[in-house]
């Protein structure tokens, strides 16, 4: 504990700087959320509260495009996150439970490096890779790319959880006549479950929100929600974009919250 004298709250300018940071971070989101309720064709003139742009998202002229894009986003996010989580779980098992093997440090670096690489680099590299192997761009390329970049996101909460699990549990299970597989499924997996679910949700949200990589690797005619929104914005921002963005924001907040709560949850109490 910091003593009250050294408490960060007593630093000069602490309060104004905090407020400034919060405003910079959240003001744009707040503006979008508020103006999504604007009963006006203009995005800047306030004409009172209405849900007409939310209705427009589902019934308006662009609704078919958004529905298809949302469905693509959802199915890709679902499949990519499940595959990425499966791979990440196996990777975490090897890294945390595999003892020290040759190339362990290198593997650890390789798993988490994509988090540090600028996304545009990954996007370009992925695109070049697909072109080199003559892979026709479309739904499948998005799915493969998403699975790949979701792995480190799924890996982090899973390995964090796993590091907190005592080695002795598996030994105790095997001592009590469980085979290696039974020790994994009956003891290790349930103990890892909160980490796995948390990783899954994180991977899902990352896939759902991704724009840059998707934009590079998607084929003509295949859109996810972020690329569809971008496409609409290029023809001028209409208030329906604000409505759809607000919905996407709300959905993300819910998932991130669930992910956070699950990672904190404890099935041992």
């Amino acid at each position: 504990m910091a003593s009250s004298k050294n408490d960060v709250r007593h630093y000069t300018g602490f309060f104004p700087i905090t407020v400034l940071c919060l405003v910079i971070l959240y003001a744009p989101l707040l503006v979008v959320t508020i103006y999504s309720l604007n009963d006006s064709n203009s995005i800047t003139n306030w004409e009172g509260i209405s849900f007409r742009w939310y209705v427009d998202v589902f019934t308006g002229p662009e609704s078919d495009k958004f529905k298809t894009a949302a469905w693509n986003s959802f199915t890709i996010a679902l499949m990519a996150s499940v595959m990425a989580t499966t791979i990440a779980t196996l990777a975490a098992t090897a890294m945390v439970r595999g003892g020290s093997f040759r190339g362990r440090g290198l593997s650890l670096g390789l798993i988490s490096l994509p988090l540090m690489v600028p996304e545009i680099v990954t996007a370009v590299a992925t695109l070049i890779f697909f072109s080199m192997i003559d892979f026709t761009r479309g739904y499948l390329t998005i799915l493969v790319a998403h699975t790949a970049f979701c792995i480190p996101f799924a890996y982090l909460p899973i390995s964090a959880r796993m590091q907190g699990i005592d080695d002795n549990f598996e030994q105790a299970a095997m001592d009590l006549y469980a085979s290696k597989r039974q020790a994994f499924t009956k003891i290790l997996l349930p103990l890892m479950a909160p980490g796995i679910v948390s990783g899954l949700l994180l991977a899902f949200i990352v896939s759902l929100d991704d724009f840059i990589i998707t934009n590079f690797v998607k084929g003509a005619g295949v859109e996810t929600l972020p690329t569809a929104i971008f496409g609409s914005v290029k023809q001028g921002i209409k208030p329906n974009i604000m409505a759809i963005s607000t919905m996407l924001l709300g959905f993300s907040i819910v998932l991130v919250t669930i992910s956070f709560l699950i990672s904190k949850s404890d099935n041992t109490k």
Partner: protein
């Protein structure tokens, strides 16, 4: 304890690369025996236990369980169970599910597992906690759950890896009796690993004292306490005065020795002692007593240095004339018969017949 051999360790060796954790060791542990592996940390006792459990490979030698070679079997195929030092109770399962686990993994029906687990929880008096999670139990209760879980599959041998070390003193003492009682009731062979000599002395049928990867002495509590084979055992088990002596002569199986300052002592000779050799003599503090005059044939003159009250005893430090310092314990129960000498008083340290024990190394 019966004549049947439960575990037979034959020249077992454990090496990690260049490091030898366990020198060739041979032990026969009887069925229904409470057998203790005692030694300081790093002596190889846990390594040997883990080799029997199957968590460590046997580098050389063999291990037999009731006549069957088991060293190639994986842990889950060995009919032995372990009580782990930190219990390793499965945190996501209830107490009942924990105790049922081993029986279920043996392929027994759930109803049977439940019945066995119920019996075991009764044995350790924890039936009322069956539906709690391990984290809701105290350390002592978790310890008993670990015991119940290891006993439930009816192992042929139970391995206990310092199971009491995490408990506080009072609980530890109570658990010693409970463990001993459960061992008698179930009739299962217990192999108990500890670094606590008091624990070993009070519970075991036989004790194997280990140090530096070697078996130092094997015997019952009285054997190893009263007739230690070497310096290590004498020093590690209980308290003792180790005096450096030279053997002057051997007469009628008695060794006549002298120590610095011209003091002379005799005691029973042991094998492999040569005249003129420098050896150590172990004198237990409770087998010595103080007086104004030399009352026994074996007496050493000295001066009282300090009296320390240690509850049950008074511990007196005496400096021998031109010689080393010795510790003498006087029980508080019969203090009425014995004088407390003030520091600085000249006294004689007398020893009971057979108190001295020569140690070769």
């Amino acid at each position: 304890m019966t004549d049947t051999i439960a575990i037979d360790v034959r020249k077992a060796v454990k090496r990690y690369g260049d490091f030898t954790a366990l020198q060739p060791i041979s032990l026969s542990i009887h069925d229904n025996e409470f057998f203790t592996l005692l030694g300081p940390s790093g002596c190889g006792k846990t390594t040997l236990l883990r080799m029997i459990a199957g968590f460590e490979d046997v580098t050389e030698g063999e291990i037999f369980l009731f006549g069957d070679e088991i060293k190639t079997l994986p842990p889950h195929k060995r009919p032995v169970n372990t009580v782990f030092q930190n219990y390793a109770l499965f945190p996501h399962l209830t107490i009942l599910q924990n105790v049922m686990f081993g029986v279920e993994m043996q392929g027994k029906p759930k109803s049977e597992a439940k019945a066995r687990a119920g019996e075991m929880l009764e044995l350790v008096q924890l039936s009322q906690f069956a539906h709690r999670k391990p984290s809701q139990l105290s350390g002592g209760q978790q310890q008993r759950v670990a015991l119940a879980r290891a006993l439930a599959p009816q192992p042929k041998v139970l391995l206990l890896d310092e199971p009491l070390s995490a408990l506080d003193l009072k609980l530890r003492q109570a658990m010693r009796f409970e463990l001993k009682e459960i061992q008698r009731e179930t009739g299962i062979t217990f192999i108990f690993v500890t670094h606590d000599q008091e624990e070993a002395l009070t519970m075991s049928d036989r004790i194997a004292v280990m140090s530096a990867g070697r078996l130092q002495q094997l015997g019952n509590a009285q054997d190893i306490y009263e007739r230690p084979h070497n310096m290590f055992v004498a020093d590690f088990i209980g308290e003792t005065n180790l005096l450096e002596v030279s053997v002057d002569a051997i007469q009628d199986k008695r060794a006549i020795c002298h120590l610095g300052g011209g003091h002379e002592l005799t005691c029973d000779a042991v094998d492999n002692i040569g005249i003129g050799s420098k050896v150590h003599m172990s004198l237990r503090p409770e087998r010595l007593f103080l007086s104004d005059d030399p009352t026994e044939s074996e007496s050493l003159a000295g001066t009282i240095r300090e009296n320390i009250f240690v509850g049950t005893d008074i511990q007196t430090l005496v400096t021998l004339e031109n010689g080393p310092q010795m510790t003498i314990r006087t029980s508080n129960s019969d203090r009425g018969n014995k004088r407390i000498f003030e520091p600085g008083t000249p006294v004689y340290v007398n020893m009971e017949m057979g108190a001295g024990r020569l140690l070769v190394d």
